[in-house]
Symmetry: C2
DNA sequence: GTACAACTAGTACGATAGTTCAACTACTGG
DNA sequence: CCAGTAGTTGAACTATCGTACTAGTTGTAC
């Protein structure tokens, strides 16, 4: 549920809308400058509001990062759920999702990864960060009964994404799809 | 307050030795508090030297982080090379290396990951960060001729490591070895 | 011993961080 | 209309940051 950044007139954003706006500004900064760049002041500036207002909604910087990570994870969760429930081949969709880490979607994937790394250090964030993996696992389970294969698909998704981020090359969804497919196929023989 | 950072025989550390000491202190901080915790002051305190000394060796914080990442990558590179050249099964060694991300080696793996994430954002650092992947790929190539399988092993190594860091569970080398093995075996069918 | 380069130490400056706070404004229920 | 509350503001506090700078010490080549 994306909120508008401002109403354009004198009316003030209130409650959840303002909250969403601040989270959006936070993510914009994580995408542009990394998690290190997130401070109350930079977020406020990005959102065009005062520093104290970000503090009004998020008492500490940690709260803000948790909210940001939750938000970005929610989005991926939603997209993976759609893949699972759709009629099409879920693996194709997953491959496309991973391939998005290159090109225009790069910053977004990088933000997700950066926040995940942060999560490894803050136990409170881990359940949120694990959701992406849980969802990929669920998707994989629609394709196989082998727990090892499920684990492999999750790890592959993560690792392929990292590879794409580290190289600057284009990512070919078909190629990704092929690698994921092989990881599953071996259990069917 | 006489210099605690001397060699014990009165001689001062100089040149590369001092450099190495500062890098070591930096890595200790990355392991304990993350890359965010790295400042000239914290590094100096960790090493038991003055702030200006860290600046003497590393003009900017960036220089210091680059040196730290290079150092940690060099170490992994060395270990993987040993695996490749050793008589034993390289895959077993790789599995052990990955399994180390749990338990006592957790902080070290986390540091490596954190610095790698940093690298995704600074093009100059990427070649350094890519070395770990290149080495794993080289190791994999001793086991298979299939480029896809090599790519899969690299991605799996990365993803499995991330999974271990995100969960707090123990990591079973045999299990990891099995998953890596399957990724290679399927190409032989 | 002297000179010069390498090194060490302490201090200081300007910038920015997280956070607090009292005062102010806009909206809402009565 | 008024009172109460949610939302908002700007200034100020303390702490720490990266870095600069000066002055002093040490090692070494002559």
């Amino acid at each position: 549920m994306t909120a508008e950044h401002d109403t354009g007139d004198g009316r003030k954003l209130r409650g959840q809308r303002r909250r969403a706006q601040i989270i959006e500004a936070t993510l914009a900064i994580v995408r542009r400058d990394g998690a290190t760049g997130v401070t109350h002041r930079t977020v406020a500036k990005e959102a065009g509001i005062t520093t104290s207002l970000t503090l009004y909604y998020f008492a500490t910087l940690d709260d803000l990062l948790v909210a940001a990570l939750t938000s970005v994870t929610d989005e991926y969760t939603h997209r993976i759920r759609q893949l699972i429930e759709s009629e099409d081949e879920p693996l194709d969709g997953l491959a496309h999702l991973i391939a998005e880490s290159a090109g225009p979607g790069r910053e977004r994937a990088l933000a997700e990864r950066e926040l995940s790394t942060l999560a490894a250090r803050r136990p409170a964030l881990r359940p949120v960060a694990r959701r992406w993996r849980d969802n990929v696992a669920e998707l994989a389970r629609t394709q196989t009964d082998d727990p090892d294969a499920v684990e492999a698909v999750v790890a592959l998704s993560d690792g392929l994404c990292a590879a794409i981020l580290l190289n600057d090359e284009e990512a070919d969804p078909n190629h990704i799809r092929a690698i994921l497919g092989k990881a599953l196929r071996r259990t069917r023989q």
